[in-house]
């Protein structure tokens, strides 16, 4: 399987490292502990279309958002994580 890195083009999947679902933005520093607990621990664990953080560790080192289907493994889009930050 391959992933199309926005900088490097089509690359083999083992160049990439998955971190997990894209969490909501990091809460403000003075936010409740509960908000941070959600931020760190709560995943949607979606069956189907989901957005994940992947890093092109064996390439440009960029963190990416990969939108893909957890059932079919189809990849819909790959963008630089900074585009939504």
């Amino acid at each position: 399987m391959r992933i199309k890195c926005p900088y490097c083009g089509w690359r083999s999947i083992e160049e990439f490292t998955v971190r997990g679902e894209v969490p909501p933005p990091r809460p403000a520093e003075d936010a409740d502990t509960g908000e941070f607990v959600d931020y760190v621990y709560i995943d949607q664990n979606t069956r189907g279309r989901t957005r994940e953080h992947w890093q092109h560790t064996g390439g440009c080192r960029m963190w990416l958002i990969v939108e893909r289907d957890t059932v079919s493994h189809e990849i819909f889009s790959v963008i630089d994580a900074r585009e939504v930050a």
Binding site: E29, V37, A81
Partner: protein, 989 residues
């Protein structure tokens, strides 16, 4: 020995090229073009193996990868390979093969008494018998089962061959090179598509090499040769024979294994044994054909029972007679072509048995039993007669002497590879088989795999599929047909007929796993009323066979027992690999010393030349200690190194520490986010110890970071976490705080770094650096700067200390590492400078109470390490909010302490748990654990670091250390972790 079953003409073998081979030590001959199976049959060898469970005599059932019986052990010595299908092994001169699963010999096998025990060895036998008591599972039951069951033996010697892994890309991957595959490949290639075509056979051609037919007035094999010639002439086509497409993976990825040298005695020089290919295909065509089914009748596993297609293959392709007196039994017009081909090969067909009431008027000129079936194969180690009876009569009325029973139960589309991504086949009564919709994502299923069993239909289906793929690829199709006309015998008119009712003897459904019809019925009776459950209970369709020949027959029997239709029962899931793939191919070059990359520091060669024993630290090799003449143990060496360092000066290679260069206007503010302590106020030319947390509040890593310029910091990380910290930094910047104007890059491999430690460290370094005042006033503890050494070599010097001594770390560009190291060694010679390894370094840091990987295990907080005071209250940082959760600030958390044995000389061991004296060793009484242990020559005692609940308030208390692994128990006293120079006077000196 003459080949009594070989015809003197015909076939695609080279009679001029006689090959010698041996089977079970007996010598035989065959020809180039033979398989081991065809050569054995040519020599009249019928009995080739013993079955898995009952040790029944087994012969050759098929002529392909679906062979469940003829599994042999190939080659002697370290190349020995068990469970190899004799039907696909290409004969070579000097081949040595052995039967397996028999003792002491194939003809007389002691374990065949299992047949007598058959009433007890029914479905679920292992589950029921070997259930209790659990303590018997491993030591008793497993060893019995392993000896009695199990197939071949692996060679326990190292594999002398090497294997490769490779990638390939194409527009169209064609899986299988029979008529469908060749037509598809030719159509697509002529249109200009980049095509890869792969076939598991020794030659491309599939059934065209096995059947007597004419393709555009050419013999099948002649037409194949012309097709291959044309494909070979096109540079955008790659052809792979001896190559199995074993798996279909996501997004058009396919796994192929090419048996580059399996057909040779051993691989030629510089040639891999096998190559594992990963093919990325935009489109694919599954042209994997169909697999013939047996009919399930009594003792249908007796050597001499053979599938009709295989019998035609042996007769037509290999000029081998499957028997002299043959009974042909079946349920379709394949009977007629089989009778004709066997007749042409000189076999005497003594009876024709047709399950259909009518045989479509084909005059076979032989006794023909209509509406009848072979009910049982009689004989001992091979077939001697067939019992025949009417289909539904339940009794046998005829007995016909014969030496072979050739049987066809119809053809099952071979859709194994198409189902690897989860597609569920459905039953199609028209073709009497399970099929899939034609289009499966990027894959198109075509030809016999779709139930088009005629050769001309296959050619047309291949063209159609190729044109559909070309359309999807945006390539203009070529509509000229590849083949205009095929002349072949009638086929088809199949009746759905799977098994004989009330057959005597054992009726095998799954030959490889010794599953009989009765087992499946029993499984249903015992409540396993789904195909998947019955599969697991009976082992039907498991292991390397994956139900290739037997799955539909099994489904029919299950359907009958459950009172459902075959479609409702379904077939069990087939999983990759389609046929076994050797572990060697999977690992490729990643074997032995090349299993993982090896990282060596720039000074590795010096260490090697000077007695270092290395220890693996991740991928790195680090000196553990340097053994000197007269020293017997690592401990003697380590103690000497510690004493030399503490009393004079030592040098250690610390190049493996992670080094990350961080620059930019926001570098300091960014570090404030990463570390729990503050960085913006750190003066240029100073280093500081930093601790970073994960966002969940636990310690992630520590190290010193130096400020080399206004906007320039150099971070160090532990060796183990270097890569993880780098990715963390990238995540924090790119995802969380992209607004910071900061750049960072790993420079771990760009710098060689060495620690020079001990009271004489300054004296040594003063002789190395160029015109820099290293006095305590000018270059105090935690100073850091760029400088030059040895008259101009660029370097960095940090006054930091892990050992607790007056110490420096000197960094030079990696290529200068050894030169700088040697210069420091020379400068330190007057002081007896001593290289020290990881053992001594560990002992010194434990003496000082410095945490390392054993303490930073992902479960400790900053305060657990006694470093809670470093946490800035004035700023936000990663992990701050969650580090304040009640569980992370609880009083009774285990805290870092020092531990000393109360008995002098007692050895402290890491991993031991700490318990109150007299307490039962259960988790409720657990007070903590020992994380690190070392011998301290300074204190003349073994010492440890560990974690004890509320430990900082329990100094002086005594606990029992219980080491379950080493089965030891000893008493320790809780002390401060700072066991040597607690005030830090030495490092400030």
């Amino acid at each position: 020995m003459p080949q009594l079953y070989r015809n003197s003409s015909g076939g695609q073998i080279d009679r001029a090229d006689l090959l010698r081979f041996s089977f079970d030590g007996k010598k035989y001959t065959g020809y180039t073009g033979d398989t081991l199976a065809s050569a054995l049959l040519a020599n009249g060898v019928r009995l080739v193996g013993r079955s898995f469970k009952y040790h029944r005599p087994r012969g050759i059932l098929t002529a392909g990868v679906e062979e469940p019986n003829a599994l042999v052990e190939m080659r002697p010595g370290p190349r020995r390979e068990p469970n190899t299908r004799a039907t696909v092994v290409e004969l070579y001169d000097g081949l040595e093969a052995k039967s397996q699963n028999r003792w002491p010999s194939l003809k007389f096998d002691v374990m065949s008494v299992n047949q007598m025990l058959a009433p007890f060895l029914t479905a679920g036998f292992y589950y029921k018998t070997f259930m209790w008591p659990p303590s018997f599972w491993e030591p008793v039951y497993e060893s019995i089962i392993r000896r009695a069951a199990g197939l071949g033996r692996v060679s326990e010697a190292a594999d002398p061959d090497h294997y490769e892994k490779s990638n390939a890309h194409c527009d169209l991957l064609v899986i299988g090179a029979g008529p469908t595959g060749l037509a598809a490949a030719l159509t697509a290639a002529r249109a200009g598509a980049r095509v890869i075509i792969a076939d598991e056979g020794a030659k491309l051609g599939g059934a065209l090499l096995s059947e007597r037919l004419a393709v555009d007035d050419m013999a099948g094999d002649a037409w194949v040769r012309s097709a291959i010639e044309e494909l070979e002439s096109m540079p955008h086509v790659r052809m792979f024979a001896r190559t199995t497409v074993f798996g279909r993976y996501d997004a058009g990825t396919y796994g192929l294994v090419e048996r580059v040298a399996d057909h040779l005695p051993e691989p030629p020089p510089n040639t891999p044994r096998q190559t594992l290919w990963r093919v990325f295909a935009k489109r694919s065509i599954l042209a994997s054909g169909a697999i013939e089914r047996p009919i399930v009748f009594g003792d249908n596993d007796r050597p001499g029972v053979m599938l009709a297609g295989a019998a035609r293959t042996y007769a037509n392709r290999y000029a081998v007679q499957p028997g002299k007196k043959v009974v042909v039994c079946g349920n379709s017009d394949d009977i007629a072509r089989t009778v004709a081909d066997l007749g042409a090969a000189g076999c005497q067909v003594v009876a024709v048995v047709d399950t259909r009431p009518q045989s479509n008027g084909v005059d076979l000129g032989r006794p023909i039993y209509r509406n009848s079936v072979v009910r049982r194969a009689l004989g001992g180690q091979y077939v001697q007669a067939a019992e025949i009876g009417e289909v539904d009569s339940g009794i046998s009325t005829e007995k016909v002497d014969c030496d072979a029973i050739v049987v066809t139960g119809g053809w099952s589309p071979n859709i194994n590879v198409a189902t690897h991504l989860g597609a569920r086949p459905s039953y199609d009564p028209d073709i009497v088989g399970f099929t899939l919709p034609e289009h499966q994502g990027e894959m198109t299923v075509a030809g016999s795999a779709m139930g088009d069993f005629g050769t001309m239909d296959c050619f047309s289906a291949g063209e159609r599929a190729a044109n559909a793929c070309l359309g999807a690829l945006g390539i203009a199709p070529r509509n000229a047909p590849v083949v205009n006309d095929v002349d072949e015998a009638p086929f088809g008119n199949m009746q759905a007929f799977f098994y004989v009712r009330n057959a005597k003897g054992k009726s095998f459904v799954d030959f490889q796993n010794d599953v009989i019809a009765k087992d499946l019925r029993q499984a249903v009776q015992e409540g396993y009323d789904s195909a998947e459950h019955a599969k697991r209970y009976t082992t039907f369709g498991m292991a390397t066979d994956q139900g290739k020949t037997g799955s539909l027959n099994g489904a029919a029997i299950l359907a009958d027992a459950m009172g459902r239709t075959i479609g409702e029962v379904g077939v069990t899931t087939a999983r990759p690999p389609y046929t076994p793939v050797s572990l060697g191919a999977w690992s490729g070059h990643a074997a032995g010393a090349e299993f993982m990359p090896t990282r060596r520091t720039p000074m590795h060669g010096w260490h090697e030349a000077n007695g270092a024993e290395f220890v693996e630290a991740g991928l790195w090799y680090r000196p553990a200690y340097y053994l000197r003449k007269g020293e017997q143990t690592w401990l003697e060496a380590s103690d000497r190194e510690v004493e030399a360092t503490r009393s004079s000066v030592g040098i250690s290679d610390v190049s493996t520490l992670g080094k990350i260069d961080i620059q930019g206007p926001d570098a300091g503010r960014f570090l404030n986010k990463l570390y729990i302590n503050g960085w913006t106020k750190l003066a240029v030319g100073k280093a500081r110890y930093g601790l970073m947390l994960r966002e969940d509040g636990m310690v992630m890593d520590d190290g010193t970071t130096s400020r080399l310029g206004e906007e320039h910091y150099l971070m160090t990380t532990t060796t183990a976490n270097a890569a993880g910290v780098m990715a963390h930094i990238e995540y924090c910047h790119q995802v969380i705080w992209p607004e910071f104007d900061v750049q960072y890059v790993s420079v771990t491999e760009q710098w060689a770094q060495m620690a020079i430690a001990g009271p004489r460290a300054r004296d040594v370094l003063t002789r190395v650096v160029d015109d820099v005042d290293l006095s305590n006033e000018a270059f105090p503890f935690m100073a850091a700067r760029d400088l030059t050494i040895l008259g101009g070599m660029p370097a960095r010097l940090f006054r930091i200390s892990f050992s607790g001594e007056l110490a420096y770390e000197l960094a030079v560009p990696a290529d200068y590492g050894t030169a700088a190291w040697k210069a420091v060694m020379a400068a330190g010679a007057p002081y007896g400078i001593t290289p020290y390894g990881l053992e001594a370094l560990g002992a010194m840091r434990i003496e000082k109470g410095h945490a390392a990987g054993q303490e930073l295990d992902g479960r400790t907080t900053a305060d657990d390490l006694g470093l809670g005071g470093m946490m800035s209250k004035a700023k936000d940082f990663v992990g701050k909010p969650l580090s304040q959760r009640p569980g992370l600030v609880a009083e009774d958390r285990p805290k870092l302490v020092g531990l000393r044995p109360t008995t002098p000389g007692e050895r402290v061991s890491a991993g031991a748990h700490l318990l109150p004296k007299g307490a039962e060793p259960v988790i409720a009484n657990d007070q903590g654990w020992i994380s690190s242990a070392a011998h301290s020559p300074t204190l003349d005692s073994w010492i440890g670091l560990g974690f004890v609940k509320n430990g900082r308030n329990r100094m002086g208390e005594r606990l029992i250390a219980k080491d379950f692994v080493r089965e030891r128990e000893y008493e320790v006293e809780i002390v401060s972790p700072h066991m040597v120079d607690p005030k830090g006077e030495k490092l400030h000196a």
